[in-house]
């Protein structure tokens, strides 16, 4: 789904455009995916798939909406597939979020995580998926509640409620961290 809320910017992308987009967006997308799924290996897979899909769409000269919006939405959709494939209901939290991954990863590793990000992802994993998505979209996409409501296809007040509960819970979980 290409979200309509983003400003249309239809133009054909050269590979230089694609490369520039990759370099400018990879870290934030990995971070976004990581806080959504709580597992860096899966987050890397998701983001890699999203970038390959982006290259494919650009090569086909498909019309792309605002590129960052396109990428965020693609990550969100793949994260949902991930929840579904892992048979997680919308009210479950992430099992893997209990474990903070170490940074001594295999040679295939892509992302290096700060301790702060790992703590944040673990805390996000404690939130129900719906709250986690709303909070993540707010933090990464700098979207308004109205825009998030359009993406989620729910009312703005529902988004505001999920956001309020999510932030409140995060604040409690990260009480020591956020005041640093």
């Amino acid at each position: 789904m290409v979200v309509k809320i983003f400003k249309i910017n239809n133009r054909k992308l050269s590979f230089k455009d694609v490369e520039d987009t990759y370099l400018s967006q990879k870290n934030s997308l990995l971070k976004f995916a990581y806080v959504l799924v709580g597992n860096i290996d899966n987050a890397e897979d998701i983001v890699q798939e999203v970038f390959l899909g982006f290259a494919r769409a650009a090569g086909k000269k498909e019309k792309l909406s605002n590129i960052k919006g396109y990428l965020i939405t693609a990550v969100l959709n793949k994260a949902r597939n991930y929840y579904r494939d892992n048979k997680k209901s919308s009210n479950e939290t992430l099992d893997c979020a209990d474990e903070i991954p170490a940074n001594n990863k295999s040679p295939e590793q892509w992302a290096i995580l700060s301790e702060q990000l790992q703590l944040l992802s673990k805390a996000m994993g404690e939130l129900p998926i719906e709250q986690r998505e709303v909070v993540s979209l707010y933090m990464e996409g700098s979207l308004t509640f109205k825009q998030i409501a359009q993406i989620k296809e729910v009312s703005t007040s529902t988004v505001q409620g999920r956001f309020r509960y999510g932030i409140e819970k995060l604040q409690n979980l990260l009480a020591n961290e956020v005041t640093k």
């Binding site: 249309i8 910017n9 239809n10 133009r11 054909k12 050269s14 590979f15 230089k16 694609v18 490369e19 990759y22 370099l23 990879k26 870290n27 990995l30 971070k31 990581y34 806080v35 890699q48 970038f51 390959l52 982006f54 290259a55 494919r56 650009a58 090569g59 086909k60 000269k61 019309k63 295939e108 590793q109 892509w110 992302a111 290096i112 995580l113 700060s114 702060q116 990000l117 944040l120 909070v135 707010y138 933090m139 990464e140 956001f163 932030i167 409140e168 995060l170 604040q171 990260l174 961290e177 956020v178 005041t179």
Partner: protein
Amino acid sequence: MNRQENIKKMYEQAKLNTINAKDKAVLKQMKEIYLEESKAEIKTTELSLWSNIMKNRITKFATAAIIFAGILIGMNYFGGAMSSVALADVAEKIKQFDSLIQEEHRIVTNIRQDGQKWEMDVKKYISTKYGSVEQQYDQQGNIMTTVYLLKNTQEIITVIHPAKQYFTISLKNTNLELPDFVNPKGIVEFIVLEQNPVKLGTKEIDGKKAEGFEAVNPKAMTELAKLSNGMLPIGDNKWKLWVDVKTELPIKIEAEYTMTEGPMTNFMAVNVVSETKNLEWGAKFDDSIFNPDIPDDYKPIDSSAFMR
């Protein structure tokens, strides 16, 4: 600072970096996919073009005329601007040269589909004796298409590099010949069409004082559209010719024209904006450039169906 700002600040401060080797590997994979898809798109477009041409049952004459006219579209502007007395000397001057190299930046926009745009840099070699060669490049400097107009064989050969394909249109046994107006002498001959170019005054171009002339919807273009038997539906067009006051030779040409749906535009209505500059009158270049350079692994597109 409220709660949500605290969390957002923490999110922003939480660092994540990536490993260069993996970045390179992902980018390499992305490039392969991008190029593969780009080739597929070009191939589809070309097939679509030919399919459309076939559906329209173009005659041999018309097919040749269309392609011929399309290739020449960047040149016949001279017809619109030089028939005034003031330009007669320029016309005479051009006759002295039997070769020309010119560079053009061409932007083609789909009028009916917002944002669909093609941008190319074109280098054209023109010879009185041999014909012309046009090389079209994308904005990354990759060669996309080479078009040969060969006088000796009376052929038009178009090589589509990303698709590794080419096709040949023969003008033998047709009413058409590659006329002289693919070369500087012909450009002058093409001026016989009467025009009333508007003087644009003078300005400096690349350090040279130049005088400008403008022709709007010149008769030459109308004739060209007629020649194409309606298959090259040129709409409004405007041409600006800038002549070096000192040498009396054209140094820059600006053109803008529309084309409604037709085979040459794959049945899209387009607006074309082009700027031709760095004209090297009498330029020396190796004649071997007129020997079509088609790599062994390029496949021919059978154009015989269009020539029946």
